[in-house]
Symmetry: C2
Subunit: 405 residues, 2 copies
């Protein structure tokens, strides 16, 4: 008699965006004429840039002609795209071999799938607040999870050893096997600097742990002090895997392309993790659509780079509008500078969901309650810079108005 994976029974319902959508729907039903501004979900709004659209169309044409048609491609991605990714890293003096770069259909897929190569018995460390996928994918595999203590006092950038209260002394001493770091962070927008990341790399190397570094928001990082790749940090090649995505970089949330870097120097149990991941991907994946890979290639051309920068600057200016409003209001926040997310303290001591309702009903603005990302998110709130300029400005005017009351 077949049995299911009983770990699925341990999953909590994915309540957050379901509940925000539900409360929004109720409100809109009661107030059909109200113009509600949505700054909750982390999805982009600007269209694909012309260089990408042209590449997609050209590749589609090629697929219709026998001489240029492509069947099965390499599961790891075409070299034309891997070379572009390699060169992109080389700009920051990160030298990668092509065989260390795996093209994927997005960071979310790889974030789940990469766990296949690790033992179920590994102890996992995730930040609180957290992107829920890190937790759910490990619960599905039956792994035990402990939490970093990200909070206002450490600017939501916990270092090694900053475990959440309640972590057993044994787990704290022994240390985790798998460490999730997302920087610039989702949901908080906070970004580790070079020195802070070095501490994590040293810790992981010392413990024999592996860092899963989520670099999905790297293109929002500004200046030289905030690494855009963990491989900018000495020592990372022996302890880190990097997951990246073109979703936020180039508006690929609906186009689906990313990449994962697994250095050959990353060895555990006398085994190159690169070889394991290659085996996983060649067995359970058949590569990303050729057409999409050509679109992704265009992101890295000089023309594409210029065009996507315009979009990122647009979102960053939205973030600036939000930050200015919070500063005017004297509200504590982080994020926004290196990130499309602004994470702030709910005003007047409100809890996350009370402020969600307040903001929706009083200002007609939808955000995301911090509590939905973990206990440490209680009393905080996330707004995204992915709306239009007009809506962002209007939303901030409304926020200022209702809080001035």
């Amino acid at each position: 008699m077949l049995k299911i994976n009983s770990n699925y029974k341990q999953l909590k319902d994915s309540y957050l965006f379901y509940e925000t959508a539900h409360r929004l729907a109720d409100y809109q039903k009661e107030h059909p004429d109200k113009n509600v501004i949505k700054m909750g979900i982390g999805d982009v709004t600007r269209p694909l840039c012309p260089a990408v659209v042209d590449a997609l169309k050209k590749a589609s044409e090629e697929m219709g002609v026998a001489e240029t048609f492509r069947g099965y491609g390499p599961e790891q991605g075409y070299d034309f795209l891997r070379e572009k990714v390699r060169d992109y890293y080389a700009e920051r003096e990160v030298e990668l071999e092509l065989s260390e770069i795996f093209i994927s259909d997005g960071a979310k897929s790889d974030c789940g799938n990469i766990l296949d190569i690790f033992s179920k018995d590994n102890l996992v460390l995730v930040p609180d607040p957290v992107y829920p996928v890190y937790v759910d994918t490990n619960v599905m595999a039956g792994r035990r999870i402990i939490y970093m203590d990200a909070n206002e006092s450490n600017d939501f950038l916990p270092g090694p050893g900053e475990f959440e209260p309640g972590t057993s002394a044994e787990d704290a001493a022994e240390g985790p096997d798998l460490i999730y770091i997302c920087s610039p962070n989702n949901p908080t927008g906070a970004a580790y600097d070079r020195e802070q990341l070095k501490e994590w790399v040293d810790y992981a190397n010392e413990k024999g742990a592996v860092i899963l570094f989520d670099a999905a928001y790297e293109s929002f990082a500004e200046g030289d002090d905030i690494p855009r790749s963990i491989f900018e940090i000495p020592g990372a090649r022996t302890c880190a895997i990097e997951l990246c995505s073109l979703s936020k970089t180039a508006g690929f949330t609906g186009t689906r392309c990313g990449y994962t870097v697994v250095p050959h120097d990353l060895v555990r149990d006398d085994t190159e993790l690169n070889a394991l991941w290659l085996r996983r991907q060649t067995t359970k994946f058949n590569g990303v659509s050729y057409v999409v890979q050509r679109g992704a290639e265009a992101v890295f051309t000089p023309e594409g780079r210029m065009q996507i920068k315009e979009n990122i600057d647009y979102y960053k200016e939205n973030a600036r509008v939000i930050m200015d409003a919070l500063e005017d209001l004297g509200i504590w926040y982080t994020g926004g500078v290196h990130s499309p997310y602004i994470w702030f303290k709910c005003p007047e001591g409100m809890d996350s969901w009370t402020f969600f309702d307040f903001l929706l009903k009083e200002a007609g603005v939808v955000g995301t309650p911090g509590q939905g990302f973990g206990n440490n998110g209680e009393g905080f709130f996330r707004l995204t810079a992915f709306s239009t300029r007009e809506n962002t400005e209007e939303a901030m005017e409304r926020l200022k108005k209702v809080l001035a009351k």
Copy 2:
């Protein structure tokens, strides 16, 4: 200290296509002027049909305009495509709900990923010879595997109870929990008829097992007696999951789109498997590229249907050329009628690899040695109908010539 998934150490090297490519490369190095005809790999050669190319281009254009741009889509796929799949099944009087259809980036991905929802303790039954992915994905999870005995005497279509010699009496009596059926089959091209599939459905329902039905080659099935979906069989809704792909149907091997059907009636451990799969997909997948889904939608339009039929008919005519040659030569074969694969007995008692070398060196034709698909494949050989007509005819002329010697 992090540990890897030690099951990966149990994987056998994926030797088959590596070795055939290696022997081919050696031969070509020695005979650079020889025109070698490749009929080994199951990849298509005909380009995407015009309806699909037009749809891809149109969708690419939409992505470049703010008003029609699409960000994150539903992980299960857009309704516009799921409706087309539903209607396609309805033509064969299979009624599906939209929520039973999950759009994927191909059957290979889902074939691996679906295992996530099942316990590691389930006993797995696969045919021998077998598409290696069924085996490797289960080895990675640490599941125990037993084999069906597909052979010449049952036309490579084993029924329930036909286990390979060496299967323990206990396993045979207890029966498997997960059953893989691929029909029309890869690698043999053999296809179960309605009555034979009914035996499997009844067996699975009786044992509480789940059939993973690989329908990737359904569009090659001819006539009413060969089901194109397991859901054409009464009782399948309580015991089967169907994996399907547009790779062979519409030449999507490099474009990547398929679908998986999980009926709501399929319940194990008091849990709807549909709900588990939905949770897996929403957690570890972010849907198929919008552009690709529009391309897939075009496959199901009247225009698309007509155009893909031309391609399938072309390949089927190639299969006919191969079958005619084998009949002329008096060689036993199966497949070819409902399949792009022809599976035949190596002539003159040669083993699979001896015949591979013979065919390459004497005739300049590359195929796939049956032994590479399992012990029962020894002494058999696979040719595919995915080449051009000219090459297929030329290859068969050469085969007839070298065997007439």
